[in-house]
């Protein structure tokens, strides 16, 4: 064999190492290809991230803007007295407003005919708003005031370009084809402005007849109460369980069983926790449906494995010399753990807890099962009611909006996602800062 391999025919032609033969070329090409696959995979992943973020931002940011029509308006004392004596008070105010609006537009050189119905469709019940304002601020009668009136959601969408003349078929009580001309005219007169939509942040959910007025405020509060329950329950229970398993547990069947359980619970789909919450907390214990308390309990059970796993890691990171030193000066085992190990592990525990809370904040599926998708349009009155009264949560509210067909609600859903992600980014940033600042290498 060896002799045969050494024959001149089989030996490679002697040439420079710098010159690639066909086989080396092939191997190098395959090396480059493989490398390119890797880069392509990473680029695809990053592209998806970019696509996701840009979709969220482009579709969600408009939810934070709101078109308003600003009309300078002066009400004289005589007008006020006259209107307050009339039968249909708000209609008179609307009349004043329309006069003022068309005067303003004429002054800007724009002429257009419109009636009070059109104003109502575009700007809502103007007369009522004006009357309420002047009744509260009688001293401002006679002065010129620039009224900012929120435009209806269809006006808003027309100005943002998501609702066009072609989209409207025939018109209805919410919108007529001639309203487009009025909007254009008002825009030409420079009356339309874009302002930050505070109502989206502070408002409550609305019915399908007023999609523009829907806000995420009440559900943010619902999420807040849920997170409070999760924090108050899962932090002490999780830390206690970790301390037992890491510092005290003997190696026996019971502790093994606990370990297996924790590992499995971490992998159980979230919807199964929803079923648990429905069957145990609502069906069995008759806790109020849709209440943040129940949502918080379910999310606590879901978050516990996360917190236990991270807490155990940070307890394990505290070197044994600390424990030995404490025991050496006469501390009991319990004192060594609670006085020395736990404070040193605290930053790690806190970081893990914040990350667990962030996970719980974004969780939706279990909340659907315990009924947190109902239509809720109010803030709780008291602190206790905040836990027990039906409320929504941010992700459940987003789901609720996404399931409705109106395009305005879709925009709100994306806007809600921005709010949710802002919370998550904040929490994760705090976790990262805590870790950077307090992390100790022993």
């Amino acid at each position: 064999m060896t002799d045969a391999a050494m024959t001149p025919e089989n030996a490679r032609a002697p040439k420079s190492l710098k010159q690639e033969d066909a086989r080396t070329k092939k191997r190098n090409a395959s090396e480059r290809r493989f490398r390119a696959y890797g880069i392509a995979a990473i680029c695809t992943g990053l592209f998806f991230l970019l696509a996701l973020l840009s979709a969220i931002l482009s579709a969600g940011l408009p939810a934070f803007r709101q078109a308003v029509v600003e009309v300078p308006f002066t009400l004289t004392q005589e007008q006020y007295d006259e209107a307050e004596e009339a039968m249909l008070k708000t209609a008179i105010y609307t009349g004043y407003f329309i006069t003022s609006l068309s005067d303003t537009m004429e002054a800007e050189g724009v002429e257009i005919e419109f009636d009070n119905k059109a104003v109502e469709r575009l700007l809502g019940k103007v007369g009522g708003d004006l009357r309420a304002y002047y009744r509260d601020n009688e001293d401002e009668i006679g002065e010129q005031i620039g009224f900012e009136l929120a435009a209806s959601s269809r006006v808003d969408r027309y100005l943002k370009g998501t609702f066009t003349r072609e989209d409207l078929q025939g018109g209805n009580r919410f919108f007529m084809p001639e309203d487009f001309d009025l909007i254009d005219a008002m825009q030409e007169a420079g009356l339309v402005k874009q302002v930050f939509n505070w109502n989206f942040i502070t408002g409550v959910d609305t019915g399908v007849d007023n999609p523009g007025g829907a806000g995420i405020g009440a559900s943010v509060l619902g999420s807040f109460f849920m997170m409070l329950v999760v924090l108050v329950l899962s932090l002490p229970i999780g830390v206690a369980a970790s301390i037992y398993l890491e510092e005290f547990a003997p190696k026996n069947r019971f502790t093994d069983f606990i370990e297996v359980n924790i590992a499995n619970l971490a992998a159980v789909p979230s919807i199964v926790f929803g079923i648990l919450g429905l069957a145990v907390f609502i069906q069995f214990a008759h806790l109020p449906q849709s209440a943040p308390l129940v949502g918080g309990l379910v999310l606590t059970l879901m978050t516990l494995p996360t917190i236990i796993i991270s807490t155990r890691a940070s307890l394990k990171a505290v070197p044994p010399s600390i424990r030995d030193a404490a025991l050496g000066v006469g501390a009991s085992k319990m004192q060594a753990v609670f006085h020395h190990v736990l404070p040193l592990a605290a930053p790690g525990i806190l970081t893990g807890t914040i990350i667990g809370l962030a996970q719980a904040l974004g969780e939706t599926a279990p909340l659907l099962l315990i009924g947190m998708v109902g239509f809720v349009a109010r803030y709780p009155d008291t602190f206790v009611e905040g836990f027990l009264e039906p409320n929504s949560a941010v992700p459940a509210q987003i789901y609720n909006w996404a399931a409705r067909s109106d395009a305005v609600f879709t925009e709100k859903a994306w806007g809600g996602i921005i709010v949710l992600l802002l919370f998550l980014v904040t929490m994760n940033t705090i976790a990262v800062i805590l870790r950077r600042r307090f992390e100790r290498r022993w």
Binding site: A41, G45, A240, A241, S270, H286
Partner: protein, 490 residues
């Protein structure tokens, strides 16, 4: 008395116990803590622990047992004839509870005085109206037996609450007194307190067991109930999913096979996206990338894992769906009818799983000893040949484990399929068609209707059981494979 007040009172009692216990111990030692067995704080904590723990334990147990006990007693009060055709005892009991709550609210709102609420002879129609005025949801007309049962329910809850308050307060006081009386200088307070704390730690660790037990029991009970109403053979083998929407009565076809098919198909598409991308990303990051690239690309990819699933759901429905529709829809190739399809949900889920696969594989590839790579380079292999022929085979069990974990994630994923996959159950091979999954049907069968007695609602528990067993099986298998692999190098 509301539970929150009771809690505060018990806490106040225990604080008093703490102060007393500490003071007694100190005075027994003549004011010098060096003469005590333990630090003074332990004598106080002893009293505090002995009043708080039993009192709260009793309260929780009582609150859990009370509805069970009362429900049983009330259920016996309701005559057989009262249960309407197609209804059952559970529905009537729900009505009784609602009425009892309504009476409570009406009394609280001052619309009804206490005697009228207790009067068994009161006019049913009038009372219904009062309850409506109090803002209570009352379905239809309350019947006489329901009203009587509700009044009995209310009376029993009232008595039970009173008894509980008294019992809890007595236990708290007795515990505080016992703990405080132990405040003698020879008493080994620290040992007692530490034993108590240890017991609490064990109890906290047992919450994990309780949760599992809770999950398993709630699934099993309702699944058994479901199979009593609906034949198991049809559930497992029927090729059709068509629940009747009336809620009760009517023939429903509740076969799990179309749902399982949808679940597996969507998960398969998701893995088809996630596994190649995730695996190649992991290989590149661990074998080729420099520390700079690694420190940038790895966290960015992991951002994908931190995004809540509802966001992916919305992304599937409102971004991926329309894009796919514009290419494969009627304006393009004409293969796709709606935005919701297997491919829509599968793609979104795949994106979600990329970081999951990549970071798990990354860990596993990094765990392959460097000596194996060096050996391969020494033989003249190129980097990619080393990876393909040495590193990947060595890491294969771990990678398979990672893929199985990702599959279990995909099967249990809910929000993406609820929003992106559609609602119709189909047995089809076409990835452009809408299909539905086990998780999506659990949500749709259990939301809205609070009647848990119909097979249409109970089937969700059987579906949940299937899901639980499937994901548990995959996880156990994955952990087994990963663990077995680890033993080779450690």
């Amino acid at each position: 008395m509301p539970v929150i007040w009771l809690t505060l009172i018990v806490l106040a009692i225990s604080v008093v116990g703490f102060v007393l216990g500490r003071r007694r111990a100190l005075s027994s030692a003549g004011g010098d803590s060096r003469n005590l067995h333990s630090l003074p704080i332990y004598y106080g904590s002893n009293a505090l622990m002995k009043s708080v723990v039993p009192a709260f334990g009793l309260m929780v147990l009582w609150l859990l047992a009370q509805p069970l006990f009362i429900d049983n007693r009330i259920a016996q009060m309701i005559p057989e004839a009262e249960i309407a055709e197609g209804s059952n005892i559970g529905l009537v009991m729900a009505e009784v509870r609602r009425t009892a709550d309504g009476l409570e609210n009406a009394v609280a709102a001052g619309l009804l005085d206490n005697d009228a609420a207790r009067n068994g002879q009161s006019d049913v129609a009038e009372l219904t109206q009062v309850l409506r005025d109090a803002g209570q949801v009352v379905t239809g007309q309350i019947t006489q037996p329901v009203l009587e049962a509700a009044q009995a329910y209310r009376a029993m809850s009232g008595t039970s609450n009173l008894l509980m308050t008294i019992a809890v307060l007595i236990v708290a006081l007795a515990g505080a007194a016992w703990g405080a009386s132990e405040g003698q200088k020879t008493f080994r307070a620290r040992n007692t307190v530490e034993q108590g704390v240890l017991a609490l730690l064990i109890a906290a660790a047992s919450v994990a067991i309780l949760t599992t037990v809770g999950i398993v029991l709630s699934l099993i009970f309702n699944t058994v109930e479901f199979f009593r109403l609906y034949p198991a053979s049809e559930f497992f083998f029927l090729l059709e999913w068509a629940p009747s929407f009336s809620g009760r009565g009517g023939a429903s076809s509740l076969g799990i096979i179309p749902l399982l098919w949808g679940t597996l198909y969507i998960s398969f598409v998701a893995l088809l996206v996630a596994v190649p991308i995730g695996l190649f990303a992991a290989i590149y990051l661990s074998e080729y990338a420099g520390p700079r690239m690694r420190s940038i690309a790895k966290p960015l990819l992991e951002v994908l894992a931190g995004i809540p699933t509802i966001v992916y759901g919305l992304f599937a429905l409102l971004t991926i769906g329309p894009i796919l529709l514009s290419v494969f829809g009627n304006d393009g190739l004409g293969w796709m009818q709606g935005q919701r399809a297997v491919l829509t949900a599968g793609l979104a889920m795949g994106i979600m799983l990329i970081p999951f696969v990549s970071s798990l594989s990354d860990d596993i590839i990094n765990a392959v000893p460097q000596a194996m790579r060096d050996g391969s380079y020494g033989l003249g292999a190129t980097k990619s040949e080393t990876i393909k022929q040495v590193v990947l085979p060595a890491a294969l069990p771990g990678i398979v484990g990672a893929v199985l974990l990702a599959a279990s994630r995909a099967i249990g994923e809910t929000m993406i399929v609820v929003l992106g996959a559609g609602a119709a159950a189909r047995l089809s091979l076409n990835p452009f068609e809408a299909m539905t999954t086990v998780t999506a049907k659990i949500v749709s069968q259990l939301t809205g209707d609070s009647d848990f007695a119909s097979p249409e609602a109970l089937v969700a528990f059987a579906l949940g059981m299937t899901l639980f067993i499937m994901t548990l099986g995959l996880n156990v298998l994955a952990l087994y494979i990963v663990r077995k692999y680890r033993e080779q190098y450690e």
